[in-house]
Amino acid sequence: MKRFLACWWGPCLLLLAWQVGVQASGVNQIVMPHPMAVIMDIASNPLVYGRAAARTLLVAVPGLTAGLAMGGMLALLCQFSAVMEYLLTPLAMMLSSIPVVAIIPVLSRLFGYHMTTLVVIVAIICFLPAFVYMHAGLRSVPAGSLDVFSVFGASARMRLLLLRLPASVPSCMTALRIAAPTAILASLTAEYLMQTGGLGALFRITTAEFRSERAFGCSLVAMVLSVCCFFVALHAERAVTRRWQ
């Protein structure tokens, strides 16, 4: 318990502030529900939340995977051909400076209001860190190692397989750490804007019906998912980085 508090005092304080804030200000529960009411709602309707969360994960996980794969592939392509490099780098720079979530409505209009569009959106959002970090990672080879590979006559393939790919593993993990929680939140936002099922759509419907404890419950579940993703990815990253030093 003491160890738990040592790590989680921040979120506990946040929860406390919420409860005290709601109680002190006496705001109507359609503005902000009591945290207890929210937790009770989650506890008594696990199936509702479970189904919505599963749908959100069904968007987030394939989107994350596809995005990371795409980013990695394009970063690799940049390694192979200078033309690709010069074509892709400005594009990626452009994309990485765009708030992608901001153009979700446009994207959904372009690709249709389907689950696949959601996956595409999440993939685009996850593509960016993957590309940026993989691109950097493939270049961050240890000092002098390129010379070593050159004097031993390594082919381009060997250089990639035995030097650049292994050297990029830590960056890969960093990309995962950044992308994984974002994937959950991005699918939530996309579902909200497109109203196509999952926690985001449930949030929108329940908000419209003033069922604020259910709406906040959706947010809470999404938060927990996202924080879990973050810490799983963080531990994976630490484990890998330690090996790579």
Binding site: Q29, I30, V31, R109, Y113, Q195, R204, A208, E209, F210
Partner: protein, 315 residues
């Protein structure tokens, strides 16, 4: 700065600050509110903005526009709200369909794939079917703001506004009743006004003169609007909604097409903004029940039919 002492009335719009609020813009610009001794401030709504009821509950607005079903939901959650009147007694929402599957009566909806933006639209379809005693047999296809997925064949019908999506289609060169069919929800049996003017009972009790004064200014604004639809459209594009980048022609068109909806059908003498008790007690309560709202509050607990007439008397 010139009139610092005027009492402030905070109005929360239900939608973005477009020509839909033509009366307000004219009243603001022509000083109708100021003549009534009021300083009216407003905040816009939008597709993702918090519901007006939330703003009322949070004490960030005094008056706001709401729809009928959300109003009932907010009351059911313990908000003591009162309807004062309605800006659009006739709701411009309806179903756009193609000649291949024309929707003219509720039965036509059965088995269709219907493109709709959100919960408001889907509830309307369900209510129509419920009122008609038909099964809820239709498929929801999520869609956005624009009706062109309907033309692409992604659905058989599109739930949209007479004053918006229908105009979009017409601006694309399509003709009503030849290329597409538009049927208002009221014609399908689901009758609700579009924009109910709402306040809290406490505010009304404490500031009744202010509310009456506000309504006076507003009525003057709407009355003026009917003389020239371009005035309000220009005010929106150039002043009050200048940050939205509206298209002037489109706003004029929308204003012109919305004016009929501010009157009761077949009752031209009914004053602007007034809420008809019979419509409320009859079709509106029926629609609420059809939409699954139970334990509806008594009509006099949620509406005050005396404020608008009082406002009219003073003009």
């Amino acid at each position: 700065a010139e009139t610092p002492s005027l009492p402030v009335v905070r109005l929360k719009l239900g939608w973005i600050a477009n020509v839909q609020y033509a009366g307000e813009w004219i009243a603001l610009d022509h000083g109708f509110f100021r003549n009534q001794g009021l300083d009216v401030t407003w905040t816009a709504g939008g597709p993702n903005a918090p519901d007006p009821a939330v703003m009322l509950a949070a004490g960030r607005a005094d008056l706001s526009y709401m729809s009928w079903l959300p109003f009932l939901d907010a009351v059911a959650r313990g908000n003591d709200l009162v309807i004062l009147g309605t800006e659009m007694p006739r709701n411009p929402l309806g179903v756009i369909s193609l000649p291949a599957h024309p929707v003219r009566v509720p039965r036509d909806l059965l088995g269709l794939r219907i493109l709709a933006q959100g919960i408001n639209e889907t509830t309307s379809i369900n209510a129509v079917l419920a009122i008609a005693g038909l099964p809820q047999k239709w498929t929801f296809v999520p869609a956005g703001f624009s009706p062109d997925p309907l033309l692409d064949g992604q659905g058989d019908a599109f739930v949209g506004f007479d004053t918006n999506q229908k105009l979009t289609l017409e601006m694309m060169g399509l003709k009503q009743d030849r290329d597409f069919i538009f049927t208002n929800f009221a014609d399908l049996g689901f009758v609700t006004p579009a924009a109910l003017l709402v306040t809290t009972r406490a505010y009304l009790a404490q500031n009744r003169p202010r509310v009456v004064a506000f309504l006076r200014g507003l009525i003057q604004g709407w009355t003026f609007n009917e003389t020239d639809p371009a005035v309000a459209a220009r005010l929106v594009v150039e002043k009050y909604g200048e940050d939205y980048g509206f298209d002037l022609d489109q706003q004029i068109l929308q204003n012109r097409s919305q004016i009929p909806f501010t009157h009761y059908r077949g009752m031209p003498s009914r004053p602007l903004l007034s809420l008809d008790r019979d419509m409320m007690a009859g079709p509106m309560y029926a629609a609420a029940r059809a939409a699954g709202r139970t334990a509806l509050p008594d009509i006099d607990r949620i509406a005050d039919f005396t404020v608008v007439p009082e406002a009219f008397k003073g003009i």
